[in-house]
Amino acid sequence: MATAHVSVSDMLVTVKSRELQRGLLAEMRGDQTGAARHLLAAAHLELVLADDYEQSDQWDLALRSRLSAASCFWRAGQPDQARELFEAMIQEHPTQEQAIREVVASLEHDYPKPSSSV
């Protein structure tokens, strides 16, 4: 049976990028409610993109999207969901463990939450 080739939607990338920008701008303004709304939208879109990248054998971009999704969840005030994603990434990409833990460390430093470490 032939494997279906999944192309990554330019429109999805654009919408995700703009939601992420809106989240960052709201964060810069100190508008935490607005930041959370847009960053959560970006997080879910990154997860869709990560699957699409995996199905098109673009593994580096898939990992980048998953790191971005987890970072968005964290900065949107959902660190527990972010930690689950980081932990899953470490399990799936053990050679990238140090890089993933560096991302977590930067979030713990700049966006501290009262939770246990990954």
């Binding site: 701008l25 790191l67 970072s71 930067s106």
Partner: protein, 172 residues
């Protein structure tokens, strides 16, 4: 090399991103240099794919950016945030005039963000600084970190708004 540009040009050069606040932040930062519009900006570009190296003198015309928006933005964002945003406008102009490159995507990586350039998906990191004296350290940090992580095939752009000037390079 003098290049006359409009600050609104990135909206068509890199249509996947939102530029309104970035353009207004750039007007705020360039106005602080004390130079009248159009604003000169010295940008060194090194080893850009399909282009090479050059010393750009961007002459930036802010026409089309509403003064009310600029005033509102100045009241809304801290100066460190304005510097971050303005740096993105400079890299957008530099990439386009240094080989016609386009920013395709932005993603978060922990506390920071990075970009993808062109269909080749080359990574780009951007930083802005208020003071010229901070440029060298910011450059070395990013260049070394990405070299350690990726080896080659990435862009770094660091700019400062005291002179103002900056550097955009591609690691081959």
């Amino acid at each position: 090399m003098d290049i006359s540009v409009r600050l609104i040009d990135p909206t068509t050069m890199h249509p996947r991103l939102l530029w309104e606040d970035i353009m207004a932040a750039t007007v705020v930062m360039l106005s602080h240099t004390g130079v009248q519009s159009p604003f000169p900006f010295e940008l060194a570009v090194d080893d850009l794919p399909g282009f090479g190296s050059a010393q750009f003198r961007l002459v930036i015309d802010p026409a089309g950016v509403a003064s009310e928006h600029v005033s509102r933005l100045q009241r809304t964002y801290e100066s460190s945030r304005l510097v971050e945003l303005a740096a993105i406008a400079v890299v957008g102009l530099g990439l386009y005039h240094g080989g016609g490159h386009g920013i395709m995507d932005i993603a978060l990586r922990g506390s920071g963000a990075d970009y993808l350039v062109d269909e080749s998906n080359h990574l780009l990191e951007v930083a802005g600084r208020s003071r010229r004296s901070d440029l060298g350290v910011a450059w070395q940090q990013r260049w070394q970190r990405l070299t350690d992580r990726m080896g080659s095939g990435f862009y770094v752009c660091v700019v400062e708004f005291e002179t103002p000037a900056g550097r955009l390079a591609f690691k081959t």
